[in-house]
Amino acid sequence: MTSYLLRRLGTVLVTLVGASIVVFSVLNVLPGSPAAVILGQQATPRAVRQLTAQLGLDKPLWRQYLDWAAGLLHGRLGVSYVSHVAIGQEIGQALSVTGPLVGLAMLVGLAIALPVGVGGALRHGRPSGSLLGAVGQVGMAVPTVVGGLLLIVAFALRTHLFPSGGFPGWSDPLQALRSLVLPAVTLGVVEGAILSRYVRASVLEQLRSDYLRTARAQGLRMGQALRRHGLRNAAIPLVTVLGLELASLVVGAIVVENVFDLPGIGTLLLDAVDNRDLLTVQDIAMLVAATVLVLNAAVDISYRLIDPRTRGRS
């Protein structure tokens, strides 16, 4: 197990280094130098050169890359070219919105996917099972933006149950949570629809397995057999999917933040791109990359913990 962990960690690190080179290269070929964008339409070429030098952007690219990478290794995200504020602080503030949003959305997704998926599997072949499957299909087919707007119309504009957008900050936790409800449901419904299909497929597979047939032969009803033996097995592929889906939720959050006007990572990223705040964009890209990689690694490792059979082969 230890050597497996080490190897897995090594893969993560090598991939991160690769990702950092790609992110850095792509952003540095973008036209529109940060200094020119900061100084605007009255900038003189001399002023642009001077600011470029002040920002350290006149150094050779490899040097800039090494400076940035060394900073990251020491946990220093650097200071924004544009706002002159520590990027770590800005990302932290944005994460205090995006983090809870993604977490809530995943909870909403699971709350939908587990009953719909298990129910669909147990009613497989019956009309009620097909209906649950169809509900899942519809949920997946509705684009996030449309779903969000429908929720705003129904719950914010008509009934005023929840705010239609904006975020009051965590100083008032109740209001903050209220403003995250609609965005989390928007993200979570789609997520629930996607996950329910995995749940259904995974449970179905277990239902058809030999060991469950044996369990039923010993007198257990279908539901009992599933609870005692099947669900743990059904959970293995699901955990894999959950990890990947968590990463895609972070990406989905960028769209939803825009619809609901939330000051999260998505808003920060789009503003940083608009302002050619390259360092901030690089840092956020690396943060997302690292999150995905670490989640994947965690999935692989938890896979082994859930399923003892996989521990032998490595």
């Binding site: 036209p31 130098s33 706002s83």
Partner: protein
């Protein structure tokens, strides 16, 4: 920018032009005794309240001295930072941290008397030496001030005594005071606090920076040490919206008290006739124009550029892009400038026949193909297809390319890699751009204009100044350097109990120094252009 709204967010500033101060004699302006001191809170009687202002573009930084974004000045200029002299909503230069100023007959020496009893929001007293520090910081060779060039004529600044600051110019520049008033060059900073200017701004204005969520909001609170008495609002929040619909909805639902400038002026129809809202519209300093690359292909020829100008129906474009909120213009010349020539928009009155004739005379009877590069602003995206159709009517086949603003800055502005583009030059009095041979439209007459500009700026009589600038306005119009379309209005919508908002967008600042909720506005403030 993905956001619409306050047009080109980081555009502005201008040549070195200014108010008609000058005059051979020492000129004095005062803001002392009696009447309202500018900056005095409007409403002593009204209880302190909070105000929420909706806006389109969030400030990318808190520091107006290192970034050209107009969104920074909108919040921080005049509200948090103050200048010796500032612009009132009419566009006139008025004394603020100076109580008076005098200009020597040769126009080379400006002497400011510093207001007594002013403290920075951190408690430090504001003195003449702080003013000297601030002006030297702006003019230093290492300055990042986006408009530092405007201070080129400044030779020295000193304080012979604690209440006086003297600025000496190397040549007369009748626009010097205007550039101190209109641009971040003039902000007075606390040398002891300037090291943290990006995170902890300290000024002398009526409001103090409280907090921000980047891209989302900025919160200011009343400056309890404000020299003109406690401000009428206890807290001001600027809240930013990427969607104009959401912004308008927030005002209607009461979540906002004010929208500083409607991203789409056509939305005004939702408020007209509703007694709970007031619409305040007035000119900005902006020029929305089809910029022509004077060094590219057929556009090198005067007759071709004139044909472009005749081919565009400016009035129709103003109606379509801004619901008529604005003024058709014919040069780099807008209402509010002392030398404004209203008739100059008639030179190239819409005339398809004339445009075709000029094209034929220039050797393009069948027209030609051009590119029209559009930045992502509402006015450009609306006007672009109209301009394209109008040019097609005379045989000029324009292909539209939509690009992001950073790309626009790089491709169009830095490298002049374009033929036609539509952009708002929002900076006030920026006609000096036509004297800059490197400027992106590559105007061949730049050296002539540079000579004319020096003469205009050095004029020591008001009439000489006006005549000098008018000559430039007419020269660039005759050369059809660009196809100027219109001067857009700032269209402010507010709950009807909000008093004292600026009635124009001439200053970059959304000046809240006279704003109250249900308060009383002094006659002086009304005369300066604050809406009651």
């Amino acid at each position: 920018m993905r956001r619409h709204g306050r047009t080109s967010t980081r555009a502005r500033r201008g040549g070195a032009l200014v108010a008609g101060v000058v005059a051979g004699v020492a000129l004095v302006a005062t803001g002392t005794t009696g009447g309202s001191v500018r900056g005095a809170p409007a409403a002593a009687a009204a209880p302190a309240r909070d105000l929420v202002v909706g806006s389109a573009v969030a400030p990318p930084s808190l520091d107006p001295t290192s970034n050209a974004s107009a969104a920074i000045d909108e919040v921080f200029d005049y509200n948090v930072y103050q200048h010796l002299v500032q612009l009132d909503p009419k566009g006139d230069v008025v004394p603020v941290l100076a109580t008076s100023y005098a200009i020597s007959p040769d126009g080379l020496r400006y002497s400011f008397t510093i207001r007594r009893g002013v403290r920075f929001s951190n408690g430090d007293p504001m003195t003449a030496s702080d003013v000297v520090f601030s002006l030297r910081r702006a003019a230093s060779p290492r300055s990042d001030y986006p408009y530092a060039d405007l201070l080129a004529a400044m030779a020295s600044v000193s304080s012979p005594n604690p209440r006086t600051v003297v600025v000496r110019l190397s040549r007369p520049d009748n626009q010097f005071l205007y550039s101190l008033a209109a641009y971040s060059n003039g902000v007075v900073l606390d040398p002891r606090a300037v090291g943290k200017i990006s995170t902890d701004p300290v000024g002398t204005g009526p409001y103090v920076y409280e907090s921000e969520i980047p891209g989302y909001d900025v919160v200011l609170r009343a400056n309890t040490l404000y020299w003109a008495g406690r401000p009428a609002l206890s807290q001001v929040t600027f809240r930013y919206f990427s969607s104009p619909e959401a912004e308008v909805g927030a005002l209607k639902s009461g979540a906002l008290d004010v929208i500083d400038n409607l991203p789409d002026p056509a939305d005004v129809s939702q408020f007209v006739g509703d007694k709970s809202f007031a619409v305040i519209d007035g000119p900005t300093a902006g020029k929305i124009q089809v910029t022509i690359n004077n060094s590219s292909g057929p556009l090198r020829k005067l007759k071709v550029r004139q044909a472009v100008a005749y081919a565009t129906d400016k009035k129709a474009i103003l109606e379509a892009a801004a619901a008529g909120f604005g003024t058709v213009i014919g040069s780099d010349d807008v209402p509010g400038e002392p030398w404004y020539l209203p008739s100059i928009d008639k030179t190239y009155a819409y005339n398809v026949g004339k445009a075709k004739r000029l094209l034929a005379e220039a050797g393009y009877p069948k027209g030609f193909a051009v590119t029209l590069t559009l930045p992502p602003y509402g006015y450009a995206l609306t006007a672009g297809p109209l301009v394209q159709a109008e040019l097609a009517a005379v045989g000029i086949r324009a292909t539209i390319t939509d690009i992001q603003f950073p790309l626009w800055i790089s491709r169009v502005f830095e490298h002049s890699d374009f033929q036609l583009t539509i952009i708002d030059h929002v900076e006030a009095r920026d006609i000096a751009n036509y004297a800059n041979c490197a400027y992106y439209w590559k105007y061949a007459g730049c050296t002539t204009v540079a000579r004319m500009l020096t003469a205009a700026e050095e004029a020591t009589t008001r009439s000489g100044e006006i005549a000098g600038f008018r000559a430039i306005v007419e020269k660039i119009n005759a050369d059809a350097v660009n196809d100027w379309l219109y001067n857009p209005d700032q269209v402010t919508v507010a709950a009807s109990d909000v008093v004292g908002l600026p009635d124009s967008g001439i200053a970059e600042s959304f000046d809240l120094s006279h704003v109250s909720i249900g308060g009383h506005l002094s006659a002086t403030a009304k005369a300066e252009g604050y809406a009651s």
